[in-house]
Symmetry: C2
Subunit: 151 residues, 2 copies
DNA sequence: GCACCAAATGCTACAATGTTGCAAGACGAC
DNA sequence: GTCGTCTTGCAACATTGTAGCATTTGGTGC
């Protein structure tokens, strides 16, 4: 679960600094996101909480994730499926694209790839942010048969 | 509903050419997509069918849209919300980006903006297609208050 | 025009994902 | 330790999409 790539860099302070109460769920979820290399779905996070022995309610987790996003501590990513994925915000200024494997559903961050700036859009339109998602097959899934394809 | 921009360019033949049966629903839905300037949601299409006096079932509409996508006559777009949007495929080779208004939820096609080709992604990864969605506020919604913001 | 049959539809039930309202519990200031 | 407010848990609901199956219908051959 905790991919142990990046050290948990005080999630506790980051939560408290926003004026939020440091609850077990917020703490564990934020640490989990900070340590994960991939954006995680609500479900994956729920499973990790269960595995870590942290009791929780589905709704509480939704609200926890909403709160982290509101506070700028996490980001919501659209993925190719119907569920959101979440990742910790490491650098608020730096955005990156994502790759969605249409075979296994895995989403990976493309740190090197920044969505190109908008050009030539109709006047009166104002762009806040760009979301770039590449679709295809990941290294693990290869180019093999179409079987098992995710919608 | 029918924005009357592009003439209905025989939807009937396009359907028959794929070996599909020309049913009232397929015909009206494809014509609707071909005439619309914006990608439409399932709901919007359903409303248009009702307005046109075409009886239909929710499930039939889902299946009709799936069929049109399978046949390459329509494309499914992720939008920023949880429901797919659909647009007629005019030129299979030409892809374009979309703009999603976070205020009103409207999606508009950015014909001039093609997602940049993928570079520097991990080896073993294969890209089928790129989806680029710009988020912000449209001309109609302006830059005003945050009130009424769509998630 | 008519019979036939695979393809398409309508219906019901279900699955997945997310939201709302409200009472009970817990964080943390004092 | 008390207390007020923020957070949680629970139940009910909303939205979006699927699956199974009996019925209807478009198109083909006559
Ligand atoms: Mn990422
Ligand atoms: Mn478009
Ligand atoms: Zn994969
Ligand atoms: Zn708008």
């Amino acid at each position: 679960m905790f991919d142990a790539a990046i050290p948990p860099a005080s999630a506790r302070e980051r939560i408290a600094a926003r004026g939020g109460r440091v609850t077990r769920t917020r703490l564990v979820v934020l640490e989990l996101l900070q340590c994960s290399e991939h954006p995680l779905s609500h479900d994956e996070i729920g499973d990790a909480l269960a595995a870590a022995g942290v009791a929780h309610d589905r709704v509480t987790l939704y609200r926890t994730l909403d709160w982290l996003v509101e506070q700028g501590l996490a980001r919501r990513i659209a993925g190719g499926e119907r569920a959101w994925r979440f990742e910790a915000v490491r650098d608020a200024a730096h955005r990156h694209a994502h790759f969605h494997c249409d075979r296994c559903g895995q989403v990976v961050c493309l740190e090197g790839l920044e969505p190109a700036p908008a050009t030539g859009l109709p006047s009166g339109f104002h762009v806040d942010r760009a979301e770039l998602v590449l679709h295809g097959s990941c290294a693990a899934c290869g180019l093999g048969s179409e079987a098992g394809r995710v919608r």
